[in-house]
């Protein structure tokens, strides 16, 4: 159990050498490797965490994009629906307008046809009435129709309102006193004298009278200055007849429409 002091010294040296060698070959490399590994693993974990966060962000942004697209799609659909609805309404109103225009055109043409028809009817009817009246009057009383017409015309002249008479007088003075008497028939000498006497009595003695006939006048007498006209004929009866016929047609239409 002795202690050999040289051995103690040698063992101290051995131990210190061993400490140095192990520090060089064991602790240094191992500790460095452990630190490096820990650092590396921590870095990998951090990287993984980072990637995971990135992926989550990416996922969130993609979800948002999908939502946006879906919203946009809904908007477009709604917009398209609205546009189609508006277009439909527009087309409907357009069609209604067209129909209305066609109907108006048709109604106008119908009106025109009706007017034309009434015009023709009036002329034909007037002619027929005049012809028939003339024939009937001639057969019944010979020249009495003309005489009667002359008398009626003279009555008209006599009963002419004073302002009319004044106007005609004035007109006569302007033109130098010539008066044109137009009749639908040839007046007898007697009738001419009666009319001349009557006119001269009423408008002045120095009047010059000229007599003409015209087929366009319907059984009447017309008194013409340069600017005035005094007329009486069956045409006025025919005009009232025309009105009566028009009213009759309108009533007929109303009853048909009802």
């Amino acid at each position: 159990m002795l202690i050999n002091w040289f051995t103690v010294a040698a063992q101290i040296v051995n131990f210190l050498i061993l400490v140095a060698l192990l520090k060089r070959f064991l602790y240094g490399p191992i500790v460095a490797a452990m630190a490096a590994r820990e650092e590396k693993i921590a870095a990998q974990l951090a990287e993984a965490q980072q990637k995971r966060q990135d992926a989550e962000q990416e996922e969130a942004s993609l979800r948002q994009k999908i939502r946006d697209i879906e919203e946009r799609r809904q908007e477009l659909l709604t917009e398209a629906g609205n546009q189609a609805e508006a277009h439909k309404k527009e087309l409907f109103s357009q069609a209604r307008e067209d129909v209305e225009q066609i109907r108006q055109k048709w109604a106008a043409s119908l009106q025109r046809e009706k007017e034309t028809f009434l015009q023709n009817l009036k002329q034909r009817l007037g002619q027929e009435v005049i012809e028939t009246s003339r024939r009937a009057l001639q057969e019944m009383a010979g020249l009495e129709l003309e005489q009667r017409l002359t008398e009626v015309f003279l009555d008209h002249l006599r009963q002419l309102p004073p302002e009319e008479q004044a106007a005609i007088r004035e007109s006569l003075q302007e033109t130098g006193g010539e008066l044109l008497v137009t009749t639908a028939f040839e007046l007898s000498e007697e009738a001419r004298q009666k009319i001349a006497a009557r006119v001269q009595e009423q408008f002045g003695r120095d009047l010059a009278l000229r007599f003409t006939t015209s087929g366009e006048l319907l059984a009447g007498i017309e008194l013409l200055t340069s600017s005035r006209k005094l007329a009486w004929s069956l045409g006025s009866f025919l005009d009232s007849l025309d009105e009566d016929l028009s009213q009759a047609f309108q009533q007929l239409e109303k009853s048909e429409a009802a």
Partner: protein, 248 residues
């Protein structure tokens, strides 16, 4: 009782001699250095590592953790010294299973040498940490009157620890020798196992006591010691299982 390794002299020239203790110490040193060199030659820094690297990482990591817990200090500076104490004693005792091998720790010269190393290392670490003035001023607190008592305290603690280390190592060899003498035929295998266990316990105790002693030489060592007494060191993760309770 075996022959002391110190007396097994292979070569001598005056006071310089070469005995079996030194021979076996060199063998252990060569084994340790070679093994370390082979294992750390290709260290991997990836997640996947070789089994040898794994073993060494567990060993070194466990020692670092033990030092950190006992000394309440970062283990970087103390690891080579304390770690080498542990590894050397541990491997020396572990190789006892090899026939023809004699652990150098069986020699009192070796244990005395290690105790002296610890004795010197403690003030060196204290001075390295606090500087010479800081370390010496520690002896004058709280008043210069306390200086003799501080010195006596340090010396007695050092002596006590050294003797305890010495006694631990010696007792292991003694117990083994006595038991072998008592039951030479029936328990050789059990004795070998017991020997291995005692060797590892000795290694651990030696390292822990060295740590405690160095820590006590550092600043605030009073609190540190109290904490160590309250919370004994936990087992290392992997490696040898400490059994210090019946010895300390």
């Amino acid at each position: 009782m075996e022959i002391s390794l110190d007396n097994w002299v292979l070569w001598q020239q005056g006071p310089v001699l070469f005995n079996a203790t030194i021979l076996y110490t060199w063998l252990v040193m060569a084994l340790l250095v070679l093994g370390s060199w082979l294992a750390t030659r290709r260290l991997s820094t990836d997640a996947k590592i070789s089994p040898w690297q794994n073993l060494l990482e567990v060993l070194v990591g466990g020692m670092r953790e033990q030092i950190r817990q006992i000394s309440q200090q970062e283990p970087g500076t103390y690891l080579p010294f304390i770690g080498t104490l542990f590894v050397f004693i541990s491997v020396s005792n572990l190789l006892a299973v090899v026939p023809g091998y004699h652990p150098p720790t069986d020699s009192l010269s070796t244990t005395a040498a290690l105790a002296l190393c610890v004795l010197v290392a403690a003030p060196i670490y204290g001075i390295a940490q606090q500087g010479l003035r800081g370390y010496l001023s520690h002896y004058l607190k709280p008043t210069p009157l306390m200086l003799p008592f501080h010195i006596i305290s340090e010396l007695s603690r050092t002596l006590a620890l050294a003797v305890r280390l010495f006694g631990n190592v010696m007792s292991g060899a003694m117990i083994g020798a006595i038991l072998l003498a008592v039951v030479p035929l029936f328990f050789p295998l059990v004795m070998q196992l017991l020997e291995l266990l005692i060797g590892q316990v000795q290694a651990f105790i030696f390292a822990v006591l060295a740590t405690v002693y160095i820590a006590s030489a550092l600043q605030a060592h009073e609190e540190t010691r109290e904490e160590i007494i309250k919370t004994p060191a936990e087992p290392t993760r992997g490696g040898e299982i400490p059994k210090e309770d019946e010895k300390t």
